[in-house]
Symmetry: C2
Subunit: 235 residues, 2 copies
């Protein structure tokens, strides 16, 4: 006769962390908004800036799809390519204003020291993401999944599923940490729990409405309250 | 014996409208945010951009007060003057990107045609506000109250009280229309009802939590539903 361990079938006791990048670890959302707004103005497309803000962090394809419905006409594939290129150039031009968010480096180092598995999963392109991640000066090897590596970006779950796979953990053992509703919706679809941060400019209630387990001002506050998500301090 | 009119003591049946400017009539909030962020970076002061966004629309004095608590040190009066000047320059440099918000001109013309009294009340300085109002190309005379004309700006009620006075109406007969929590809190303090608009980038629930009577996407949606605030269409 075999005796089952009392822990059999329970989830891992300490979760892995899947970070969004822009607005979560890096203070770059408003520069992305400005770069999109500039690209659209240059292309003669008028859209209110707040509506761009609300769509940062979703896949570029879905962003352009929503945009076409918004302006009530189609944007040709050539113009879409031009917009994407103009946005990338405009963002790179704004990089000198972009800084890590408070607590980002400390939280990453905290997790690394305790061997908590973590990764970064971003709807951004590999090239742009690499420039942003450099700013974090992480000094540890962090698995990164970018838009180019998956079929679909947020709010589809692919980025977080791929990141969990890179860590060798189930998405159900992960906390997604993100600033946008797209992160939190993608987390739900990946069956991960999520932590919302206000540092991308969304309101607390918007993130709560997307099922956030907890909402913090930024990753500094998340670090200050890290026990709330089950990551235990070293004894 | 005199018989009281059944209407005696009731509020006026059609309200006056007190508009905020930035983020309500003009799509300028993100340019103000960028201008403040740039001014602070140039002065060696690091603040997360979303925290600047959340404070746009409050009085400049209160903004700098909150900022000092945020960064944990005092900013000298000279440096405050420099920051204010750098912000104004940065905003003016971004004016080519600033446009009226959808529905702004139409709503103003709708009100003017129906002789509904309305005014603009902004925490911005007179000079900057004048440049923004030009963009609206209003073609009607609109009373404007700016920061320079009152003792205190939002969330103090002075701007809206002064605007109501210019219109010769009680604040209790006014609807304040604004995008920020500072507009809606100032409206409460002025005993006016308020309409929140999402076009400044706040979330719906944040505006509802400040007592908004209604929240619309922007003034275009407000115009589409103008009966909800008691402004009746012409017969």
């Amino acid at each position: 006769m075999t005796t089952a361990s009392p822990d059999a079938g329970l989830r891992a006791s300490s979760p892995a962390i899947l970070f969004d990048l822009d607005g979560t670890l890096i203070d770059s959302v408003y520069q992305h908004v400005a770069a999109w707004h500039e690209a659209l103005l240059q292309s003669g497309i008028a859209v209110s800036v707040w509506k761009l803000h609300r769509r940062i962090g979703m896949s570029g394809g879905l962003f352009l799809h929503a945009l076409q419905r918004e302006i009530g006409r189609e944007i040709s594939p050539e113009q879409q390519a031009t917009l994407t290129q103009l946005h990338a150039e405009g963002y790179v031009r704004r990089l000198p204003e972009v800084t890590p968010l408070p607590g980002a480096r400390d939280l990453v180092h905290y997790l690394a020291e305790r061997s908590v598995p973590f990764a970064i999963a971003t709807s951004g392109a590999g090239r742009t993401a690499a420039r942003s991640i450099e700013l974090l000066d992480l000094q540890v090897e962090v698995p990164v999944v970018t838009r180019d590596q998956v079929e679909r970006a947020k709010p589809d779950p692919h980025l977080f599923l791929a990141a969990a796979q890179m860590l060798g953990v189930s998405p159900m053992d992960c906390f997604v940490v993100g600033d946008s509703v797209w992160d939190l919706l993608a987390a739900q679809r990946a069956r991960a729990l999520s932590v919302g941060v206000l540092s991308g400019g969304y309101g607390r209630e918007e993130l709560q409405a997307c099922g956030a387990y907890r909402v913090y001002a930024d990753v500094q506050e998340m670090l200050d309250r890290i026990e709330e998500i089950g990551v235990r301090p070293a004894v």
